[in-house]
Symmetry: C2
Subunit: 497 residues, 2 copies
């Protein structure tokens, strides 16, 4: 190995690193040439790669060629300006630099001592972001609470659910587990259901409250109150209520203030999941969607969605850090150290599921510094404007309809089915989605709202501009025209036969 690539050598790292930077820059330069949604078939890669690792080293050139020929065809290009599926997953120059530096240091920041800068920068930067979002001061690290970077919103919701579970069980005894009830709307992310499965909440005690069209898919506090009263009279123990700001299906916003008050009345943990829409709330004109967050015990947003911070960076704040620590701490001898024993510092290992953790605050710090608050606000506003543009195009074509209010940068719409359509446009819209995604020109996704198949067009990729919206709309119109004509042809031919 001494003659070829060493495990680590500064000059080799420099030489190879420069090549990789150029490779990635070239990728972004040509990103619009690839189908946004990968068009490969299941199992494609196994046919292209050998059965086992090589005995002898290969060259970086070999690897680059394979990435071009074998890997990139299997990549779905989340960074493409023509990506409108799910929710965005922002890469940015600043975020990328932060990832590089984090991989360069490659420290494992489980305890303060293992790299004090990692813990302290995270606390500082999360305070910065809390102030940008005007979160209540109890979420700042100066008090009993504080912020922590989790990998994903799923992990964030799991750790607060565990904290809430154990806080309740400490009072009532651990055999009460079977009586604990969790409340959320049917629009809540599946991460909560998964967290309940993991935490051993009985499935029949995961109370899914219906949020329908009449409330724009936000939950109504009365229905939650009713469910709680009913459970209480059945001898169950309500302990956790989750609200969402910007639901996954339609970006609906639950009424935080009312729900927060309910949670207080019944002494429940109140978690606010703003994974997607939290970012928008750095703009004064959108901040009101967070009104009521002062009632929350915990609040989470994904900086890796719509905030120019490369995945993963889910930002969680809690008011009572001890609740987390009491659930998640262990203190083995081999990790003990003076700073931890003296209790003057934070050890983030006790705020999360894993032990090891990367130096993720670097990328968020670099995003905040290299763009600055005003540019970040304008970045959000631009995407919301582009979504407005798309919504306008939809409403200008009578063949389409909007399916939910457009609150942020997500447009929910569908092709209106003929009145006699057997499945109320389900297949029609499924086929439209499949058709546009198969063109490779854009990638959109779907949901089901009130039983109807709904197309989701989420603006938020870093390089998306007006022209991409226009082109996306053209693709949609073309495929819709083609589909409707084919349907008509088929129904005519079936009439004739």
């Amino acid at each position: 190995m001494e003659d070829s690539l060493k495990p680590m050598d500064a000059e080799q790292l420099r030489e190879y690193g420069h090549k990789m930077v150029d490779f990635i820059a070239d990728y972004y330069k040509s990103i619009e040439n690839f189908p946004v949604l990968s068009q490969v078939k299941p199992g494609y890669l196994r046919e292209l790669l050998p059965d086992s690792a090589p005995n002898q080293p290969e060259t970086l050139q070999d690897v680059f060629e394979d990435i071009h020929r074998k890997i990139i065809p299997g990549v779905t290009h989340w960074q493409s300006p023509n990506y409108f599926a799910y929710y965005p997953s922002n890469s940015s120059t600043a975020g990328f630099l932060g990832e590089m530096l984090s991989a360069g240091f490659n420290i494992i920041g489980f305890s303060w001592i293992t790299s004090p800068a990692a813990t302290e920068l995270e606390m500082i930067v999360l305070d910065w972001l809390a102030k940008m979002l005007k979160l209540p001061s109890e979420f700042l690290s100066s008090g009993q609470g504080g912020g922590v970077i989790q990998g994903t919103a799923s992990e964030a919701i799991l750790v607060v659910l565990l904290a809430a579970r154990d806080k309740t069980l400490r009072k009532l005894g651990k055999k009460s587990l079977e009586k604990l009830v969790v409340y959320a709307s049917d629009q809540t992310h599946s991460a909560l259901q998964k967290a309940c499965q993991i935490a051993g909440i009985f499935p029949e005690n995961f109370r899914v409250v219906k949020a329908d069209f009449n409330s724009n898919y936000a939950v109504t506090p009365e229905v939650v109150s009713e469910a709680i009263s009913h459970d209480l009279s059945a001898g169950l123990i309500p302990f956790f209520l989750c609200a969402t700001v910007g639901t996954t299906s339609s970006a609906a916003v639950d009424p935080l203030l009312e729900l927060g008050k309910i949670s207080k009345v019944y002494d429940m943990w109140f978690h606010v999941d703003a994974a997607y829409a939290g970012s928008a709330c750095i703009c004064p004109e959108y901040r009101h969607y967070l009104d009521g967050v002062e009632e929350a015990d915990s609040f989470d947003m994904n900086a890796h969605k719509w905030f120019l911070t490369n995945f993963d960076c889910s930002v969680l704040w809690v008011k009572d850090r001890n609740a987390l620590i009491q659930s998640l701490s262990t203190n083995p001898e081999f990790l003990k150290n003076k700073a931890s024993q003296e209790n003057t510092i934070v050890d983030f290992k006790d705020w999360q599921i894993p032990l090891g953790r990367r130096f993720r605050s670097l990328k968020l710090w670099m995003v905040l510094r290299l763009y600055g608050l005003e540019n970040l606000q304008n970045y959000i506003r631009k995407h919301i404007r582009l979504a407005d543009q798309f919504e306008h195009l939809i409403t200008s074509d009578p063949r389409f309809e909007i399916m939910a209010p457009k609150t942020f940068s997500l447009v929910c719409f569908r092709l209106i089915p003929p009145a006699d359509d057997l499945d109320n446009g389900y297949k029609l819209n499924y086929n439209l989605m499949d058709a546009v995604n198969t063109t490779g020109k854009i990638f959109i996704s779907h949901t089901v709202l009130s039983g109807k198949f709904v197309l989701r067009f989420a603006v938020g990729a870093p390089m998306t501009e007006e022209k991409h919206i226009e082109e996306a709309w053209k693709v949609l119109q073309e495929q819709a025209t083609y589909l409707l004509r084919r349907n008509q042809d088929m129904s005519q031919s079936s009439c004739l036969s």
Copy 2:
């Protein structure tokens, strides 16, 4: 933002990326100039950084200066060749390139469709690695099992514990949770205790079996059998047994074959945690430490420890993927897609705690290809040789003693206390550790074995050479000499007084 740094722009990414590569290469070039263990005091960074994020963007030059002046003093240099604490956390040129590319694509590979290459490369590369480790064929993806990259060994042990828990509860009913018992030795990583806390295993049912000096800190099968029999007769339900190959404290190896047989007799899930020492088992001469792994239901090793793959990359194999999926899957409408519904592919979201996942297989693939099996074997052998060298130095100095057999690259030792030492060398060795770590020249850690404070010297950083071992030994000898002399002086002066 248009005039300055754009959210994403290929040429800006190129320009800034090259600067960051040089910054990181320069860091590695000068890494030995920094104290290995950061010497800052708690709260140091808050005094150096502003209270809030800037409104206007700052320059990359500003950020680089702050990293030099404010961040690096707070970094503990895990990649320093003088880092011997805990276990290694390898960065490598290949692993770094993989991290860069993964951050470049920045895809979120939760389902196959979201980037088929991410899922398929992971399956292929984990098959490669399983073959290198000569794992049983049931762990290969061609059957009912397969490999999956987890973030950490903590997450790996949690997901298999959940799979085992739910498999048992499906048979016995969910109210049996309070009777479920987990078995492991007192040398098992605290990750298992944490996983039990999360999964709701009753604390009194986490059965910690003593592994002592007589068995070189490996667990003895008889003691496990006894504990199980005892619990069975008390009406409890043994369901999970964890063995370790290379414990955290002393790199002890539990007897897999015997433990595996016990797990079969009692129909328990058998997990093997080889987080650290698994890497060594790619060498034929160390593979025998895995004998018996064919009895395991799951096996985990951390490629991010001693296998040149940047953090995070914990590699987990299971024989029954459905057990994982039944515990961890959710299937919300917004994530449904043709490939998933047709069940022809793997969606790794159902094999892990989080939903989102990075394209981590790239770095492991690049490590395997750019180094090749033979170089990786030689890399391991070199560190074991360096640990032999260190052990030899320890045994050549009668003031020191070896505290556990050196099986891989970890040396457990201590300064022999005077016969009349009040705490049997606890304080003496604590002070020695503190003294050497405060020099900044090396970083070592500790554990407690049989009540004795033990120093851990773990070789495994990518740039460590013979000269670093010699220098480390010099630092240890100097500090020991100083400490012993001071102790002598103090005891003399107390005799005189």
